[in-house]
Symmetry: C2
Subunit: 406 residues, 2 copies
Amino acid sequence: MNTMEKIFRLSDNALGMQASEIRELMKLSSKPGIIAFGGGSPDGLRFPFAEVAEIEKEWNDAKKRAAFQYGATNGYPPLLDHLKKRMISNGIDMNDQSIITTTGAQQGIYLMAKAMINPGDTIIVESPTFIGALASFKSLRAVFEWAPLEPDGISIDATKAILQRLKKEGRLPKFIYTIPNFQNPSGITMSQLKRKTLLDLAIEYGVPILEDDPYGELYFEGTATDYKPIKSLPGANNFVVYLNTFSKILSPGMRLGWTTGPSTLIGQLEIAKQSIDACTSSFTQVIASDYLEKGYVNGYVDKMREVYRSKCAMMMLSLEKFMPKGVSWSKPTGGFFVWLTLPTGVSSRALFNAALSRNVAFVTGTPFTEEGKGDGYARLAFSNCSLEDIEKGVKLLSEALKEVAA
Amino acid sequence: MNTMEKIFRLSDNALGMQASEIRELMKLSSKPGIIAFGGGSPDGLRFPFAEVAEIEKEWNDAKKRAAFQYGATNGYPPLLDHLKKRMISNGIDMNDQSIITTTGAQQGIYLMAKAMINPGDTIIVESPTFIGALASFKSLRAVFEWAPLEPDGISIDATKAILQRLKKEGRLPKFIYTIPNFQNPSGITMSQLKRKTLLDLAIEYGVPILEDDPYGELYFEGTATDYKPIKSLPGANNFVVYLNTFSKILSPGMRLGWTTGPSTLIGQLEIAKQSIDACTSSFTQVIASDYLEKGYVNGYVDKMREVYRSKCAMMMLSLEKFMPKGVSWSKPTGGFFVWLTLPTGVSSRALFNAALSRNVAFVTGTPFTEEGKGDGYARLAFSNCSLEDIEKGVKLLSEALKEVAA
């Protein structure tokens, strides 16, 4: 124990959260000129810059004052109104439900974790799943039960088996965490049938679902009906907490998300938020409220569906063109990500080094899965690369793969 | 247990954080037309609106993209550079020290709590102290040792006695939380002599200090030397973590603070923050960085010192003019708050009701102190009231007080 550790005696929670390999890899990936399949960032050249400038230019004194001042912990009332309408138009029954705005959807995840997790509590997660959610849950010392993903979403059989076993052991999970649309990292979408079945299971066992839907509007095949949230199904009202964000439909730099769920629960999240950051940025909430009110969101989402459609198409074409035999990948119909299954025996960690030396970055499969299961996989994000870079990057990655496999 | 509680089984941390009386009082206080001595908000009519508009108008493409995109968890690099210079010019030795930007200084408090507190751990706090800090610590089930405030700051004798006792019991506190300048809620400033003595105690016992300094620049008597942070004293480097915020020198609606401390500890806060909200708003960080770079901060702080000086002077005059005998109050030399000691037997809760019926709000003393100690006190914030309202509000409050005392 060095001096610092004697003076700053860390909590058990913090001691369980030492710097992870993934963070080191991400730092390596941020060198200039790199083709970045790594981070899950939106297209950085196409944010609605002009719309936001227009919005702020039109602020009257009252809006300016609201934007610069502290706000209520649950959110800026006009924004809450717009979000409520949006939830209703998305098929969600807002009876006895409330909304709280959050500092990114990441905070919505953390608030749920803080409100519900005791050390040792179990959470059912998809395998693979979002690193940020795992970090939130781990930071409160949850343990995981992993339900494998299938091409049409979470394995219902596995989920049911887990629930049966945990019920028998008297330790039902606190909730089931799922990303039904264009899942991070797999790009997989849960079928509407499975959504219904998963909800039935949740109701049967009395275990809520935490539904994370950051990419749901960014479909580029099918229609909105194919991607309707679990939260919109009959009977979901008391069992599903729904997370969403402005990160993909406006800007992640605004750090603005929202959580919808039973009012009594949202009240608990509000109390937790009070102690964490008091309120979400009024400044970015007033921007987002006007962005919804003026309908700018629709034009932007329409445009970005086309942008991500082309990028994904280029990714698919390039993978088909360059990847050696033994590699397979998911076929996303929206979102940012493709999940690569590497040939048997090829380590994504070894591939990472070979790719990095060719100036291509991605995220290895390991941090998304249970220990020892992810090294044969890789997540590629096409969202923030040019079409040229996608083609070039996949070509370089395939060369790295051949080198590693040799 | 109702249905919701069966489905959403709350954590022990959450169960300990049921809605507090203070939150209900604050809601009652937000009715229109009220004279609001309650919230600790900056002057809402005088934010640097024009400067921020000017900053955004001048953003080039690179800055726009940085503002709209995800950023590093520890902060926007140009802002971190400006803050480092600011810390150094404030006398702080930045050797082996790092800075992390936070979603308000409230998040800095929470990150420290999350990194260091196990359930049952002790924190030494001033009596009275900031409600938001108590909420953060309580939300992780800390217990408190209360060191009374004296007119020149925290009682050194009491702090020493607490440290001796806890050391003997083998349960040294995780840290000492203090607000040395224009303390919230008392308005009291710790003398430079006491800062030195407190630091010596911290070093002697190996217990760090969490120094919260949101108001430090807003002095209206004396000079910066009188308010130099504990963090700037010789030997403080490894023992003091320093919190500050843009809430009082730019805008609380931006939700932007920063924490400075030993690099290894700040690395732990960064890991904690990753799981809570991933990163602080890039949008507001780019604004704040330019705000420091262009030097707008100096003009604004100079102006606001004068504004708050007049408001505090009007508060002092009005208290002298209207308050009945048996009432006393602190004499702040900066910041936002005056702490009222009510005549023996007068309850601040009863006064609250009588004042509210006259359209005046304040915060009762109870939430700032150990249980059963605060009801004889009241916090008045003069920061966001007009001079007219301060005079009128104090007059009405004195009438309410006479009614309650009768």
